[in-house]
Each structure stands twice: as structure tokens, then as C-alpha cells.
């Protein structure tokens, strides 16, 4: 008797011999055969006939197997992978497993997204710095003329140029298309009731052709007109509000006696945020003849603030450089040999912002500090990303114990190692994509606004930037691969038999997990140390003495000596004013540079020309000798020096030492304590005081009775308005001169505190995840311990033992590294900073220990309050 089912089973078995057919394919063929037989039976064939006919028509199996096998072989191409539903399936599985372990998923996604958010912020910062000045169409052709000269034994670059050079260059070189000079002057600008001190740029009409500053209103060519003035948008709003001011009059007062009315001929569009050169007011260079009749356009001994040239082709610069030799000769013939220059040089506008930090007297803002910050930030971000990836790796490895069965079953039903790897990588890409999305949000809505708020500027970050998307994809790929590949390879290597027999105990004691956690702790230690050091440093610098008494000291600028006398006469009657002093320079505001000569050597020093009262008024303490006497004639050839002067010249007995400045000989009569003229980021230079000629007084400084600063300040302002209704008051508290410096260093501290907080957060998340998984895997063990009477101490030790060893090791390694790095960073960033000692490390380690204990104690508590009966019931 024919047994259909048996025959079918036998027939199907012959398919199973071939690897090419999977379960689904064999089932499909079985159904085919049954369908066919149904038809044949309906045609009246017997069951056996129908089976034999259907099998015969179905054909030989081995060529089918060959065909099918060639399909499988081609399975591994990437395109075929994408085309299959596999990824869809895996994504679904990963989202489900994410939902199943919310804690792990949170640690992974949140950690990664914070790091990615930071990466996006750094990207925004980098693109901002690199965008600086790139909006100038002629940025490669426009070059700043500079010169090199030896000062104090080193060659230095200066941004100013001899006055006649610009015109000569234009006439002598055919490949120079345009030239423009820039001279900056402080003037008083008046329009109706608006009167302010402003900086005005005297420049050649080519300025607006060489630099790309499109106008909102008016015409650029109007700069050729002697009576035209061009305003920045900011100034237009300041003086005229939102209306179009073209055609309106504005008065410039150059000094007490000279002034000139200008017609507004143009208003520039708002300047791009990232720029080094801009202007408030532009007027024709020739106006210098009116504002300063003594200005000699042809004197090689005098300098103009800046000269820019525009070449026909950027490459022309080589021929130009060779041709500069003759100007050097002219220049050196004209000037004193102390000021001889060694060569002329050029700086392209495109890269000026990067270089101008090293150029003295430059008119361009520089981004050298920003470039330095980029390196710092990039390091920080790279470390943060690595920290977050390590969390991912750790958690993936440890939690793989929970998924051993899944992997075992998958492998048993035929998943190859490759398939498991792909599954885990897909899961990882899903996680990373979530993190990327969240990270973009965190970066865009948290980090970038925070940083812009700190410094008060906009980085002009936008999502339309194509490189941003390349960068984001790179981050996605980087984090996905770094964090995903090790777990994927590791987990897929498990042997099925081991898993299913339960003899495998992977994960909890994996040495790599320990190593990664240890590394995280070391990094956290470094970041905390940085935050602590920067915070301490801010505190330290805010307490650091300026070297003189800037409290109760006020200052103001006066138009001239007559003005000084007028103010002094009125203020002298105020009983709360203790002393009044006049000077040509002022601490924190201005100084001159002099060259002191001995027969064998010479030095560059900072020079302040002051009156005899200045030391008392500004609270500068004398350490040796005496200060000036009131009598100008008797002390006009005497100088008072600072301690740095004495120490850097190695003087044993400075008093009575003689030096030549220009041709006159000066004698040291006193030594004062060192003081900071400018911010703490600038080193104290050798400095001298000279008696100022009364006619040069432009500063009036005063010392008041403690507590009366505010009233006196108001009184001075009131006096000023009475005496000079036309000239705006320009002065302030001496304490406020470098007030924004404190803000800056406070920002440094805040930035590092945020970084440290993120690093601690990441390390804690990782630690928390690991401890949680560890405890979860040892529920039975702890339950038994508790049943047998283990107390708090015993449990605590058991939970934390392995971590304490690791933690101690991390600190032993991390502390010296942190110390070394801090020394390096601080010596690079600050001239004067808090001494970096082991105490800082102690504070940092204490913070780390505290956070560490908090993290672990949550888990110890969980074990303590758990019911051992429940714990023992598990599985």
C-alpha cells in the first residue's frame, strides 16, 4: 500500500542533505508538491501516480541545490544585506531590547548623546574660528605690510609701517592694484544730543574695495569725498536709530579747537560675527591734514597704524618681497639706529587672524587663543566620546550575560557568527542614531547657547552647513564602530554548547571591563582636577594683588593741561579727595616704549610719564630711594624703576645707575614694587617712570577717602559736564579697568566645571551600570549571605571590593597624570596662576571618592533592603 506521507518525508529528506535549502525553502517545495498532486488527483490519477508525476516534473534536486547555493554565496554583498528585511528586523529587535532595559539604554544613549552634544558644540566653535575673515572676497590678494626688527635680542614683527611707504609701493610696483592706509584716532562725535568719544578710522577710498564690507545704504565711492563719512550699522543705530541717515550731518571734534562737519554717505551692513578688522566711522585719509596739521605724510621716522596692499595675483608677493630691500635702506637711514628694521614682510588677510597674535601693534583682532582653545576642546571632546563609548562597551559586555540564551538559540537555529555580529552592530547603530539625535538637540539647545551666553557672541551655527552633515555622519560611524565592534565580536564568539549547558559565565569578570572602567576613572580624575584647578585659579587671581592700590582710585582723561588745571582747581576743594595727579600715561590705559642704553647693551622697557603725586595717588609703594620732587627741572633727568627692571638687569645697587634714552642720560633715583599694568595674562615687564612735561598731561587720577568713591565719582562727572558740556566724560574706577579680565577667567573656570561635571556624570553612569549589573547577577549569592547573617559591613565590602581596588589603582595612576597635565595647561594659558600642588589633587580625589561612594552606596542599599527570600526564588 502506498504511504503518501512517508514518501513525502523521504523526498523532503533528500533536500535536507543540501545546506543550500533552509527550512522555509523546503516547506515551500513541499507545499508545491502537494498543490500539484491535488490537481493531478482531480484529473483522476491515483495517489501514487500523482506523487510520482509531480516528483518527476519537479526535477532533479542537485542542480536546484547548486543554483540555490550560488544565491547564498552572494548573500554577503552589502547591497543584498540592505535589500533584505534583516536590518528592519534587527532594528525592531534592538528597539525592543532597548525598551526592556531602560536603565542600560538610558546610560548608553544619554552618555553618548552628551558627548555628541559636546562634539557638536566644538564643531560650531571650530567652524566659527575658521570662518573668521573668510568673507572678504580678496582675502588672498589683500596683504598687511609688516616689518621685522630686533627687540631685546629677538626678531619681532610689527604691523605698523613708515608713513610714506604706501604711496611709494603703489608707484613702484605694477602688480600692486590697490593700497590703503589706516590711521585710528579718538575723537568726539556729536549729532544733536548724542555726544560720545569714538574711534574714527582715517583711510584711503580703496578700503571699501579691498575689504568686503557691503553697504546697507549709500555708496562706497563716496569715501573719495573729503566731507563724507561712512558708519557701521551699530553706529548708525546709535546716532540715528533705525532711519536711513544718508545725507544727514554729523560733527567730529578732533580736539579742543579743531572740528569738522561730515555728511553721512553710507552705512555698512552688519559685520559678520567672525572678523578681525572692522570700523565704526570711516573718513578720507586726507582729513588728517585738518585734524592734525602737524601730521607729516612724508616722514620715514613716523608710522601709520597699518598699510594694506592688494595684488593682482596672490603669487606676486614673492617678487614684491624681493623688491622691498630698497625701502629698508631708506627707512634705516631715516631712523635712529635703535629702531632699525631687519626686513619688511607681508601677511595675507586670509590668515591674518591666526597670525596677528604674534604681530605687535596690530590693528587686527587675533584668534590665536581661539586656535589654542580648539586643540583643548578637541581633546576634551575626543575623551568624552571615548568615555561614553567605554560605557557602552562595558554595559554591552556585562549585559550580554542576560542575552546568552538568545545568542545560543540563534546560533542553534543556524545563525553564523557573522550574522550575530551584524545583529549587534545594527543594534548599536540604532542606539547611536538615537544618541546622535538627542546629542544634536543637547548641543544645539544647551551647549551652544550656554557658551554663546558666556562670551556674549554668536557663532553663527546653522544646520544648512554641508560639512556639518559629513561631520555628524563621521561621528555616527566613529562612535558606532568604536563602541559596537568589540562587544559584537566578543559576544558572537560564545560557544553554543557552553551557553546552553550554562557553563559559561562571561561578562562579570571580564578583564577588559575592568580596564575600561579604570581608564574612565583616570579620565574623570583628570577632568575633576582641571575643574578644581581652574576654580581655585579664578579665586586666586581675583585675590591676587595688582601690586598697587587700585581701590579708592579714580581716573579721567582731560583734553590738555589747561583742562587738567581747570578740573584740579574744582576738585581740589572736595574734602574727600586725598590727592590729585596728572600724567601722560596711565596704568592699565597706556604707556610708551623706550629703549634704554648702556655702552654695551640696550633694553626695551615700558615707560610711564607721570607727575610727582602719581605714586601716592595710585598707591604704588616705594621699596628703595625716593620718588620725584614737584620741581620738573630738577628731576627731569631722573627715573624711578620697578623691581622687575632691577632683577632682569641684575642690578645690585640700582640707585645712581645711569642710562641713556635717545641722547639724554637718566639716573635711577628710586625703585618701586612690581605692579600689573595690564591683565594677569601679561607678564610684568621692566618699567620706568619719568617726570611728564605738564603740557603732555592727558590723564587726571585721584585718590579718595575710603567709602566716598561713588559720591566722588558722581561729583567729578557733574563738574565735568559743567566745564565741558560738549565733550563726553571719559573715566572710571581704577578697579574696573581690568574688571572684564575677572569675567574671562571666571568663564574659563565655568567651562571646565561643565566639562568635569560631564566627565563625572559619564564615569558615574558607567560605574552605576556596572555595579547594578554585577549586583543583579549575584542576587542569589547575596541572599544566601544575608540568610547566613551577613551584616551591612560584610555586604558593603562584598559589593564594592573589586571596585575599590580598581578605584585606588585609577587614582594612583590618575593623580600624577592630572598634576602633570595641569602644570602643562596652566603654564601655557596663564602667566601667573595658582601654585599647582598635591593639595589640588587631594580635593579632586575627595570629590571623586565622594561621587564613587554615592554611586556604589545606592546599590549596597538596594541589596540591604532586598528580601533574601525573593532573591533565592529567582530561577
Amino acid at each position: 500500500m502506498f504511504d503518501l506521507e512517508k514518501a513525502l518525508t523521504l523526498w523532503l529528506r533528500s533536500f535536507r542533505k543540501y545546506r543550500a535549502f533552509d527550512h522555509g525553502a523546503i516547506r515551500e517545495m513541499e507545499l508545491h508538491l502537494r498543490d500539484h498532486m491535488d490537481d493531478l488527483l482531480a484529473e483522476g490519477h491515483s495517489e501514487q501516480q500523482a506523487f510520482e508525476m509531480a516528483v518527476a516534473e519537479f526535477g532533479e534536486i542537485s542542480p536546484m541545490a547548486d543554483e540555490e547555493f550560488s544565491n547564498i554565496k552572494s548573500k554577503t554583498t552589502i547591497s543584498s544585506l540592505i535589500h533584505t528585511a534583516m536590518f528592519k528586523n534587527y532594528s525592531k529587535v534592538s528597539i525592543r531590547s532597548l525598551m526592556r532595559n531602560p536603565l542600560n539604554s538610558f546610560i548608553n544613549i544619554f552618555g553618548l548623546s552628551v558627548a555628541i552634544g559636546l562634539a557638536i558644540f566644538v564643531y560650531a566653535y571650530i567652524q566659527w574660528v575658521h570662518k573668521t575673515d573668510q568673507f572678504h572676497e580678496n582675502k588672498e590678494k589683500v596683504q598687511l605690510v609688516t616689518f621685522f626688527a630686533d627687540r631685546d635680542g629677538s626678531s619681532q614683527q610689527f604691523a605698523k609701517t613708515p608713513r610714506p611707504l604706501a604711496e611709494m609701493l603703489k608707484n613702484d610696483f605694477s602688480n600692486i592694484e590697490k593700497v590703503c592706509r589706516i590711521e585710528d584716532r579718538n575723537v568726539v562725535v556729536k549729532h544733536e544730543d548724542n555726544v560720545f568719544h569714538e574711534g574714527v578710522r582715517f583711510t584711503d577710498p580703496e578700503f571699501l574695495e579691498m575689504f568686503t564690507f557691503p553697504l546697507k545704504w549709500g555708496t562706497a565711492a563716496s569715501l573719495k569725498d573729503m566731507n563724507s563719512i561712512i558708519l557701521s550699522e551699530k553706529m548708525s543705530v546709535k546716532y540715528f536709530g533705525e532711519e536711513n541717515p544718508v545725507g544727514r550731518d554729523i560733527l567730529l571734534k578732533f580736539d579742543e579747537t579743531r572740528s569738522k562737519a561730515f555728511k553721512v554717505a553710507g552705512v555698512a551692513q552688519k559685520f559678520p560675527v567672525a572678523h578681525t578688522i572692522d570700523f565704526n566711522f570711516l573718513i578720507n585719509f586726507e582729513n588728517l591734514r585738518i585734524s592734525a596739521p602737524e601730521y607729516d605724510f612724508h616722514d620715514w621716522n613716523q608710522f601709520v597704524n597699518a598699510t594694506f596692499i592688494q595684488l593682482a595675483e596672490p603669487a606676486d608677493i614673492t617678487s614684491l618681497e624681493q623688491g622691498m630691500e630698497k625701502y629698508k635702506l631708506i627707512q634705516n637711514k631715516a631712523v635712529d639706529k635703535d629702531w632699525a628694521i631687519s626686513s619688511f614682510g607681508f601677511e595675507p588677510l586670509a590668515t591674518l587672524h591666526k597670525r596677528s597674535g604674534d604681530i605687535r601693534d596690530g590693528i587686527a583682532r587675533n584668534s590665536a587663543d581661539n586656535l589654542k582653545s580648539i586643540y583643548f576642546l578637541s581633546f576634551v571632546v575626543a575623551f568624552m566620546l571615548i568615555l561614553a563609548c567605554m560605557n557602552y562597551i562595558n554595559i554591552a559586555i556585562v549585559s550580554s550575560t542576560k542575552r546568552l540564551k538568545e545568542i545560543g538559540v540563534r546560533k542553534t537555529i543556524g545563525a553564523s557568527r557573522k550574522v550575530i555580529i551584524i545583529q549587534f552592530l545594527t543594534e548599536n547603530i540604532v542606539v547611536t542614531s538615537f544618541a546622535l539625535l538627542l546629542g544634536v538637540l543637547i548641543g544645539f539647545f544647551l551647549f551652544i547657547p550656554w557658551f554663546e551666553g558666556l562670551w556674549g557672541f554668536s557663532m553663527g551655527f546653522s544646520f544648512t552647513d554641508p560639512t556639518l552633515w559629513i561631520y555628524l555622519s563621521a561621528i555616527l560611524l566613529f562612535t558606532a564602530l568604536i563602541s559596537g565592534s568589540y562587544p559584537a565580536f566578543y559576544i558572537s564568539s560564545f560557544k553554543v554548547t557552553g551557553i546552553l549547558k550554562g557553563s559559561l559565565r562571561f561578562g562579570q569578570k571580564n578583564p577588559l571591563t575592568k580596564l575600561l572602567l579604570g581608564f574612565q576613572l583616570v579620565l574623570a580624575c583628570i577632568f575633576i582636577t582641571a575643574a578644581v584647578t581652574f576654580s581655585l585659579n579664578t579665586n586666586y587671581l581675583s585675590k591676587r594683588s595688582w601690586g598697587y592700590d587700585n581701590r579708592q582710585a579714580l581716573f579721567l582723561t582731560v583734553p590738555d593741561y589747561a583742562g587738567f588745571e581747570k578740573m584740579k582747581a574744582v576738585l581740589g576743594q572736595d574734602p574727600s579727595i586725598l590727592s590729585i595727579s596728572g600724567s601722560e600715561h596711565h596704568i592699565g590705559k597706556s604707556h610708551a616704549t623706550s629703549i634704554l642704553k648702556k655702552p654695551d647693551r640696550q633694553f626695551e622697557v615700558d615707560q610711564l610719564s607721570v607727575d610727582a603725586n602719581y605714586f601716592q595717588t595710585m598707591g604704588i609703594d616705594l621699596s628703595e630711594g625716593r620718588v620725584f620732587k614737584e620741581d620738573y627741572e630738577s628731576d627731569k633727568n631722573k627715573i624711578v624703576v620697578n623691581e622687575t627692571f632691577v632683577s632682569s638687569l641684575g642690578l645690585k645697587d640700582p640707585l645712581g645707575e645711569l642710562y641713556k634714552i635717545d641722547t639724554l642720560e637718566y639716573e635711577i633715583i628710586g625703585v618701586v614694587n612690581d605692579f600689573h599694568s595690564y591683565s594677569f595674562s601679561e607678564i610684568i615687564k621692566p618699567g620706568i617712570f619719568k617726570l611728564a612735561d605738564k603740557k603732555d598731561y592727558i590723564y587726571l587720577s585721584l585718590r579718595v577717602v575710603p567709602g566716598s568713591e561713588r559720591e566722588t565719582y558722581k561729583a567729578i562727572q557733574a563738574t565735568w559736564i559743567q566745564l565741558y558740556p560738549e565733550i563726553p566724560f571719559d573715566g572710571g574706577y581704577q578697579e574696573a579697568v581690568w574688571g572684564n579680565y575677572y569675567e574671562q577667567i571666571a568663564i574659563h573656570a565655568e567651562v571646565w566645571q561643565v566639562f568635569a561635571a560631564i566627565a563625572i556624570l559619564l564615569a558615574c553612569l558607567g560605574l552605576y551600570g556596572l555595579v547594578t549589573l554585577n549586583v543583579a547577577g549575584r542576587v542569589k549569592e547575596f541572599s544566601i549571605r544575608k540568610t547566613l547573617g551577613a551584616g551591612v559591613k560584610n555586604i558593603a565590602i562584598n559589593v564594592s571590593r573589586q571596585y575599590i581596588i580598581l578605584f585606588s589603582l585609577a587614582i594612583v595612576i590618575g593623580a600624577p597624570i592630572s598634576l602633570y597635565l595641569m602644570k602643562l595647561i596652566f603654564s601655557l594659558s596663564y602667566r601667573y596662576h595658582v601654585p599647582i600642588t598635591y593639595e589640588i589633587i587631594v580635593i579632586s580625589v575627595a570629590i571623586l571618592v565622594l561621587v564613587f561612594l554615592l554611586t556604589i552606596s545606592t546599590q549596597i542599599r538596594k541589596v540591604l533592603v532586598s528580601n533574601p527570600v525573593e532573591g533565592l526564588k529567582v530561577e
Binding site: R34, D35, H36, M64, S80, H83
Partner: protein, 113 residues
């Protein structure tokens, strides 16, 4: 009877063509081909399946197991957008072959020969 090679070469176009008219499963596809060719195309039924699987892998068709109470489970195949595109290309190619052949058959013997 159509030769094996030619049958094999045309399978892709034929399967895609059939699926273009509506979703179908293996046995039904074979039945249709046989019916349409009037039995002129010789097939071993089993060889259809590797072809179907390959087309699926290439993303030209996709499959779906359909379970129902009253019939056997069936693995239905459905043509994808990529598949429709591929079918157009196939059609183009077969038409070109056809054109060449037609021109050849209609050519009069060369008199200069």
C-alpha cells in the same frame, strides 16, 4: 519545444511579468507559465524556486507567508518598485532581440552575392 537555455534566459522576465499582474505563489506561477506557453516551455518545476529566491535577494520581488484557515499556507511573491523597473529593462532587451531577428527574417537574399 523551446530549448532549455532560452527558457532559462527568459525566466526572469516571465516571472516578473506574471507578478506584475498580481501576487502569486510558486506553484501557481509555474502553472501560468505552462498554460501561457501551451506546454512549449519545458521546465523542471523545482528550478523555479532558486530563481524566485534570487530575485527576492536582488530586491526585485518580496515574499510573505500567508496563513489561512481553509487552504495551505502559501508563500506569496510580490513585485517591488525595483522589480517593475527591472521588468521594463527586460522588456526593452527582449524587444531589441526581437527587432533584430525580425529584420533578419525579412531580409531578401543579397543579390550581389
Amino acid at each position: 519545444m523551446i530549448s532549455k537555455n532560452l527558457t532559462a534566459a527568459s525566466t526572469k522576465a516571465i516571472i516578473l511579468g506574471i507578478l506584475k499582474q498580481g501576487n502569486s505563489y510558486g506553484y501557481l506561477i509555474i502553472k501560468k507559465i505552462k498554460k501561457m506557453s501551451g506546454g512549449k516551455m519545458e521546465y523542471s518545476d523545482g528550478m523555479l524556486y532558486p530563481v524566485l529566491h534570487r530575485l527576492e535577494k536582488d530586491g526585485l520581488i518580496q515574499s510573505n507567508w500567508t496563513m489561512s484557515e481553509d487552504t495551505r499556507p502559501r508563500k506569496y511573491y510580490e513585485i517591488t518598485e525595483a522589480g517593475k523597473q527591472a521588468l521594463l529593462e527586460e522588456k526593452e532587451q527582449w524587444l531589441q532581440v526581437n527587432t533584430v531577428l525580425e529584420k533578419l527574417w525579412n531580409l531578401k537574399p543579397d543579390t550581389n552575392y
